[in-house]
Amino acid sequence: MNLDSKIPEGPLSEKWSSHKFKMKLVNPANRRKYHVIVVGSGLAGGAAAASLAEQGYNVSCFCYQDSPRRAHSIAAQGGINAAKNYQNDGDSVQRLFYDTVKGGDYRAREANVYRLAEVSADIIDQCVAQGVPFAREYGGYLANRSFGGAQVSRTFYARGQTGQQLLLGAYSALSKQIGLGKVKMYNRHEMLDVVKVDGHAKGIIVRNMVSGEVSRHASDCVVMATGGYGNVFFLSTNAQGCNVTAAHRAYKRGAGMANPCYTQIHPTCIPVHGDKQSKLTLMSESLRNDGRVWAPMDKEAAKKIREGKLNPNDVPEEERDYFLERKYPSFGNLAPRDISSRAAKEACDDGRGVATTGLGVFLDFRDAIKRDGKHTIEERYGNLFDMYQCITGDNPYETPMMIFPAVHYTMGGLWVDYNLESTIPGMFVGGEANFSDHGANRLGASALMQGLADGYFVLPYTVGNYLGEQGVAAAGQVTTDHPAFAEVEADVKGRIDKLLTINGTESPRSFHKRLGHIMWEKCGMSRTEAGLKEAIQEIQALRKEFWGNVKVVGDADSINPELERAGRVADFLEFGEILCRDALMREESCGGHFRAEHQTDDGEAMRDDEKYAFVGVWGYEGEDAEPALHKEPLVYENIKLATRSYK
């Protein structure tokens, strides 16, 4: 597997501009001869499809939802980072770069992160120009808030709906291009495989989720922006439809899967209520700007709260353990996500958890309301408070919120080089689907930044460069008549038929739940060698059981949610094993990956830079073979590796 990262020569701050200058250009009149497929319509996919169409390429964009406006980027609440330094508080490209690398626990590629920080400011300009209604101050200028893992205020926001507003911005740009006929939009279409011709990605096979028709689509290159794989845990904050199928299919066709064990467990989610639950709801991290996280010091008090015999408001100040403020005085409640999540788990493991299950801690706004007034807090977080009340029935203005960590984001993903091109030439990967920028832990408000950076400012250049290199004579030469398409299409159809004919006794959802249980218990917030080995065996057994006993009702020729789920669960069952293998291989703790064997005396993550300062990339070796590990060494030329401290 060729893992040449293609990082341009030269000083960090000049790499991107000199790289852009050296790129091949396609002249405007020739762009219309090319056809680009974009899979996914979230921030990365929607922005890339719109921008490539604006440049003049013909684009086909696919999404599984009924409209591109519904991609899960929409659910991001808190904000988007940018090194604008509008607050005059010491922010800069350099600092955003440093914070992101440090936040990622020194497991990200320097050059990519620097570029991300560099284009971050352009994103805000672009979004404002599109009419994204960011929060403003009375003077008319943009407002900022601070976010976890940073000591400057660099987060731009639109109430608690920043993801929605940014996505609607990209969607409006995309819609314009659809209206102009430059983008052909395929709603309710699911990508089921990628087609390679002479080693290059030249098309995809999709299923129309309404008619059931399986069809071929050829192009000059493929951009995948298909999101993360958090739903391998069954319960997560991801949307119900989020899945790993597109990425996993690409992996099986030769794309490297990088760092799958880097999964982010978000500290502020609403605790689980029962075994029929379908998803976990995130409360924005921005709440930690004003809310104070605590658990009772006394186990007895915690027990009484769980049983409903003690009102948390009656716990006196000196009996509250504000554990983040205690453990991390300089970052306090704004400690990064991985660290905050583990601290909450620690309190609950200690028997001091609240919520009926004992799996919860408080996020208390009492002091903020006293300080700033209810009106101010309502203005900042009103919709989040309403959402909390709607789900739990509790009023957070009066009784402290309860929160617990939940799977939220996946830093790992398909391996890409500096151009965001995967190990399959001609296949580009953007947004959460790639692994590139967040290392082992993503900072809050950086997902939106990365999605839009990839979509608006990176892919439109690097895709053009690839097409330029292929030459205009090659444009549109591969058609769906090529035998490679027939072959892959037959595979896809065979798989669908197989799922429908097993006719066993257990539903796909049930298998998904069982997989999620294994993943959460043995590959969740804290992982051990023994646990991971068990998990791998259990997943293999479950996979075997699935292919012998899954029951998929309905047919292939109409809307069939059971068939859709079965296909996705089948891929999760393969992918989950790779995730566990990666976690087992990585004998260190870093960011979202915490190996219980590797911790300091006070329970902090212990990295091993000598042995593990590399990207772990898994390559497919065949149906029954173990995947092969490849390594891309991480070279730090500008940042000195240090133990991450937020104390």
Binding site: A50, E54, Q65, D66, S67, P68, R69, R70, H72, I74, A75, K84, Y86, D122, Q126, V128, A129, Q130, G131, P133, F134, A135, R136, E137, Y138, G140, Y141, A158, Q164, Y171, S172, A173, S175, K176, I178, G179, N187, V210, T237, A239, Q240, G241, H273, G274, K276, Q277, S278, K279, T281, M387, C390, I391, G393, Y456, S507, R509, S510, S558, I559, N560
Partner: protein
Amino acid sequence: MEKTMNLTLRVWRQKNRLSVGKFETYQLSDISEDSSFLEMLDILSEQLVADGHEPVAFDHDCREGICGMCSMTINGMPHGPEQGTTACQLHMRHFHDGQTITIEPWRAKPFPVLKDLIVDRTPMDKIIQAGGFITGRAGSAVDANAMPIDKQTADYAMDAAACIGCGACVAACPNASAMLFTAAKVSHMNSLPQGKAEKDRRSLAMVTTMDGEGFGGCTNIGECEAACPKGIPLDMIAQLNRDYAVAQVKNFFQPVL
């Protein structure tokens, strides 16, 4: 201590766009009051699958009340009886033991039923494609703070932009009008200084497309506002009417479309 309930569900079943649908009745027991409405439907689906039947097909995705995918009329009301809530954020504690719940798809001519509770809402996308954008090519933007926007205007634009495009307004309207949806986008963009250049074109093109897609006219009934899970106010329709009238007059003297 968890309270549970037994329910009778009357659910619209329809094989596909061309077939004739009908209500089927199902019994469900021991539903937790903490379950969401869609989790209750998940349980029904599992029950149906276990008996070898096809589950009820319904649109849903984020389950956080923001993506706008879920779309069902519950006891005659789009998204159900709670104000300001999508079906996915509706919880069973708002229902009681022994209750009969009727669940139907959005009923509106421009939204044909594709299966069971799933309808086709692409006509709403077409309205946006006609003019629901502010042209700003990537790379062409000026500094974000170059143009201060007073907080009142920014807040008003945000109120309008909160629309999630679910279509409850259309489903609630006896005329199946998409005026509230269209008005929200027009109000968002027309109110901002960035959106002024295309204001007249936008107003005309979006209304024309709305009419062309078969949505009915607005007769100021106000059901849309009551059904909207995001509280988009009826005032936005007044704004749209004003902007549309101005655009028409201008268009008469000097065509903008």
